[in-house]
């Protein structure tokens, strides 16, 4: 069955929702084995592109495996609000390039919400098999001041 633009929007919303719920296995199940995740930003201080995180599937699995031991406050949540702005059929057959605006809001255990980051998702989604799967995600941040930072992918 052909995957339409609405299916892709639904898929990306489900990906964001899995991340919000910290359902890491569910998130990984929506990624192809060759999935690559990056966080990038441009430094006006250095006049340079920067890469702040790169993980393949093994790296992400390790990251999620270590998470329970990482120091942080139990009950801190992140919510990702996405808005798809462009869907175009990629050069590779069966691949779709999708751009979304993303706003990540972090909420403390006390219930105080703060804007954590703003930017874009630059995704490549494999739709060839009829079920969308993430091939690549670049989280392109406008925000470069992340406070104490984050152990979880934005």
């Amino acid at each position: 069955m052909a995957v339409g633009n609405e299916d892709i929007r639904d898929f990306l919303n489900r990906v964001a929702d899995a991340l919000d719920r910290e359902a890491w296995d569910e998130f990984l199940s929506m990624c192809a084995p060759e999935f690559e995740y990056r966080v990038t930003a441009y430094s006006y201080e250095l006049d340079k592109e920067m890469v702040w995180l790169i993980h393949d599937m093994d790296g992400l699995r390790y990251l999620f495996d270590v998470l329970p031991e990482q120091l942080g406050r139990k009950g801190t949540r992140m919510l990702r609000q996405i808005s798809v702005t462009d869907i175009s059929r990629g050069e590779a057959k069966g691949h779709v390039d999708v751009t979304s605006k993303v706003i990540a809001v972090r909420t403390s255990p006390e219930g105080v919400s703060e804007l954590f980051a703003a930017g874009r998702y630059l995704d490549v989604v494999d739709v060839a098999g009829g079920t969308p799967r993430m091939i690549k995600r670049e989280t392109r941040l406008d925000t470069r001041e992340l406070g104490i930072g984050s152990h979880v992918p934005i």
């Binding site: 890469v51 995180l53 942080g72 930072g149």
Partner: protein
């Protein structure tokens, strides 16, 4: 061990005065104001690495010092620092974070300045000439600037401690690393931390906290052998060097491998060194990458920390991306270690800010091995000297 009541909680620890810090040193606004004028305004402070200003007329603004600053590489190759303020009506002169400008014209009334800070043009100057306000009296305010191994420092004091005296040999271990091959900054980010500036500086002097990091528990950092091989060395003016640690990254299979990356000159890929430079800068290496932290106090309980990552300038694209991964896994804003360190600084600040905590204990003596508190004692001895009051009782000024 019994719990304590108010009296016993607030009673100074039964330790030498050099071995604890009173909570007021972290939270008292008057002491903070004194720190700004007695320490920050008089010490040599890291501004940037010279790779951030590679060409003549390159500039880099520093917005978080007490005054706005701009560093400019001149036509003569020297880097100078000026107040980033137009002397005419006080407008900020350079508004971009970095760039290149042979001359800089203030947006407001078009006064123009060259790279030496000289005022070279004022539109319709006759009205000033008539008032005897000469162009040579309208230059920028220059700040002392000097460079060591590519590290550019500024000092807001017009009569600073001589640069060479201030650093002595404290950075000599980094000479080869920073000069034998070109290095450059590839990573920069800032974090506003809800903590006193010293609480962040301490996190790089207090190696006893290593137990906190899951990644250090999973590698060999905390074995008896590595703990006692590492040494704390003390240098004049409060500088410190932690050296002697070799990390076995192979202990953890998914850690980015080091063996194919070229180590920085003078280091092996496994070397870990850390050098806190008084008052607010720390250089550290993990063999293939270097990190520089600079902490700027904003308020008694808010600080801005800049993080830089450095590597070899001549890396291929493939080598660079591996080096970036090696940097990011421990030191990036989304790394394993850095968010834990920042979290810890903020949690400590909560204890001191509220008056809950009374003293910081820095009494561990382990023959100056890695987790000896001697580094922190050295820092606070220097702090006490500059402040004219002991860190153990900072409300009391020295006679």
């Amino acid at each position: 061990m019994p719990s304590r009541n108010r009296e016993t909680w607030e009673r100074p620890p039964d330790l030498p005065e050099t071995h604890y810090v009173d909570a007021a040193a972290y939270a008292n606004p008057d002491i903070f104001a004194d720190e700004m004028s007695r320490i920050l305004a008089r010490s040599w402070r890291f501004g940037c690495h010279e790779s951030e200003l590679p060409d003549a007329f390159d500039f880099r603004t520093i917005d978080h010092a007490e005054v706005p600053l701009v560093m400019i590489r001149g036509e003569d190759g020297r880097i100078r620092t000026f107040y980033n303020v137009c002397p005419h009506r006080g407008a900020k002169l350079f508004n971009d974070l970095s760039g290149n400008a042979r001359l800089k014209t203030c947006f407001f009334h078009h006064w123009t300045f060259d790279w030496k800070g000289d005022c070279v043009s004022r539109p319709r100057p006759k009205a000033y000439d008539d008032m005897n306000l000469r162009a040579e009296d309208c230059g920028l305010r220059e700040v002392h600037t000097d460079t060591l191994y590519g590290l550019v420092f500024f000092n807001l004091d017009d009569r600073p401690i001589p640069f060479a005296d201030y650093f002595g040999d404290a950075l000599a271990s980094f000479e080869r690393t920073l000069t034998e091959e070109p290095v450059e900054v590839f990573h920069y980010h800032q974090a506003v931390v809800q903590a006193n500036w010293k609480q962040w500086v301490e996190s790089n002097m207090d190696h006893y906290h290593e137990w906190m990091h899951v990644m250090l528990r999973r590698t060999n950092v905390l074995t008896e052998e590595t703990l006692f091989k590492r040494r704390v060395e003390l240098y004049p003016y409060g500088h410190i060097m932690f050296r002697g640690m070799q990390i076995d990254y192979q202990d953890e299979a998914t850690v980015v491998p080091r063996e194919q990356s070229k180590a920085l000159p003078g280091l092996t890929a496994e070397t870990f060194h850390s050098t806190p430079i008084f008052p607010n800068t720390v250089l550290m290496t993990r063999g293939t990458v270097m990190r520089i932290d600079t902490t700027t106090p904003l308020t008694p309980d808010t600080s801005l920390v800049e993080f830089r990552g450095l590597g070899l300038k001549n890396d291929s694209e493939e080598d660079r991306i591996v080096r970036i991964r090696q940097h990011n896994e421990f030191w990036g804003p989304m790394s394993h270690n850095l968010p834990e360190d920042l979290f810890a600084a903020e949690q400590c600040a909560k204890g001191y800010r509220t008056g809950g905590a009374a003293y910081g204990i820095i009494c561990r003596e382990e023959n100056m091995s890695a987790q000896d508190d001697g580094g922190m004692r050295h820092f606070y001895a220097e702090w006490s000297k500059w402040m004219g009051r002991p860190a153990s009782d900072p409300r009391t000024k020295a006679a």
